[in-house]
């Protein structure tokens, strides 16, 4: 008698696997917004952008009244590091302060889900930049290369603002 493990999959196996998938969808589901985050993040017009990976995410405390939250997020790419702090404002909006390292006065774009237009600022020579009055939701940063440089843009993953 052949070993049952060597037989091809049949309908019963398919049913077992389908139910296993369904049970695991309950046991350990992906975050509800994972599809949304991915589709937002890849809807870029810059297909050659260098990906900056999330390397650290810290909650650095809350405001005195407990209404403000501050997070720092660090993204690392080969060519540059992008570090941001996201501060909740009392009015429900958010301020994002960022640094580029190595420092350079580069254009930084904050991509937001449509229909919100992207926001663009230029970092100062010390690499600092800021976006104020940003609504909660998803965001993604794009850093333009220095003018005349052949290096690609740097893009972060989408993150929750």
């Amino acid at each position: 008698m052949p070993d049952s493990a060597d037989l091809p999959l049949d309908e019963r196996d398919q049913e077992i696997l389908a139910r296993l998938a369904a049970v695991h969808a309950l046991a350990d589901p992906p975050p509800a917004d994972l599809d949304e985050r991915v589709t937002f993040a890849i809807a870029l017009d810059a297909v050659d952008a260098e990906v900056a990976r999330l390397s650290e995410q810290l909650a650095v405390g809350s405001g005195a009244r407990g209404t403000e939250r501050t997070r720092t997020i660090t993204f690392d790419a080969d060519s540059r590091t992008v570090m941001i702090t996201v501060v909740d404002r009392p009015d429900g909006l958010v301020r994002i302060d960022g640094w580029l390292a190595p420092a350079a006065a580069l254009q930084v774009e904050l991509r937001l889900p449509e229909p919100a237009p992207p926001r663009r600022v230029t970092a100062d020579p010390a690499g600092r930049f800021a976006f104020d009055g940003v609504a909660h939701g998803l965001g993604q940063l794009l850093v333009q290369p220095p003018q005349g440089s052949a290096s690609p843009r740097v893009v972060t993953p989408a993150f929750a603002i």
């Binding site: 049952s4 493990a5 999959l9 049949d10 309908e11 695991h24 991915v38």
Partner: protein
């Protein structure tokens, strides 16, 4: 219940496999021409698989979500290297594991023993608890699933999320022995099936 046609496990088997390959192939072609939004359906289809691949590497839920997203962003840069739907799934699974290893190294957590072999990695899933499962057969299934060795649980939770035409490509990407994921049943599924068929709660 859908009647499935079993085949070589290579490219599409039966109409469903062929249709899917054609559909995914068309999405890839549009994405290569700059229309990355065309990947939306493929993202929704493959995210559960990639999620379980990352979780099986021992990452937290948050880390796994980041890894899956980074993997898709890297894919966009490398679309020109992906020549077929089958290659797409294999590329994504391989890249997800590589990203997961990187995250684990960065957090200075010791790699699970034999990290190169997925079968050795503990299953991090907490389980739904039987009371959450409304269907009696799901409860029976979950009970027997928990009795399997850890490496089988890890393997099967991934296999369960693989589309049939992708079996061999995913097995290859995971470095699993031939036959551990279709077209043959493999020992882990054979064991689970045997326990289920012996349980009146499943068979009736």
């Amino acid at each position: 219940m859908t009647v499935v046609t079993l085949g070589s496990g290579q490219a599409g088997t039966g109409h469903a496999g062929t249709d899917r390959a054609a559909r995914v192939g068309a999405c890839l072609e549009r994405a290569r021409n700059g229309e990355t939004a065309a990947l939306g359906d493929v993202v929704r289809e493959l995210n559960p698989l990639l999620w379980h691949v990352a979780r099986a590497e021992g990452l937290t839920a948050e880390e796994s979500a980041d890894v899956v997203q980074t993997t898709w962003l890297e894919l966009v840069r490398r679309l020109h290297e992906i020549r077929s739907p089958r290659a797409l799934t294999a590329w994504l699974v391989t890249a997800t594991r590589r990203e997961a290893w990187r995250v684990r190294e960065m957090s200075r957590r010791p790699a699970p023993a034999g990290a190169a072999q997925l079968a050795e990695v503990p299953d991090p899933g907490p389980g739904p608890g039987e009371q959450l499962l409304a269907d009696e057969r799901d409860r029976v299934l979950w009970r027997h699933f928990q009795r399997l060795p850890e490496r089988c649980r890890t393997l099967l939770r991934i296999v369960a999320h693989v589309s049939r035409p992708d079996y061999s490509a995913v097995a290859e990407a995971l470095g699993m022995p031939v036959g551990s994921i279709g077209p043959t049943r493999g020992r882990c599924l054979a064991k689970l099936r045997e326990m289920l068929l012996a349980d009146p709660g499943w068979s009736t």
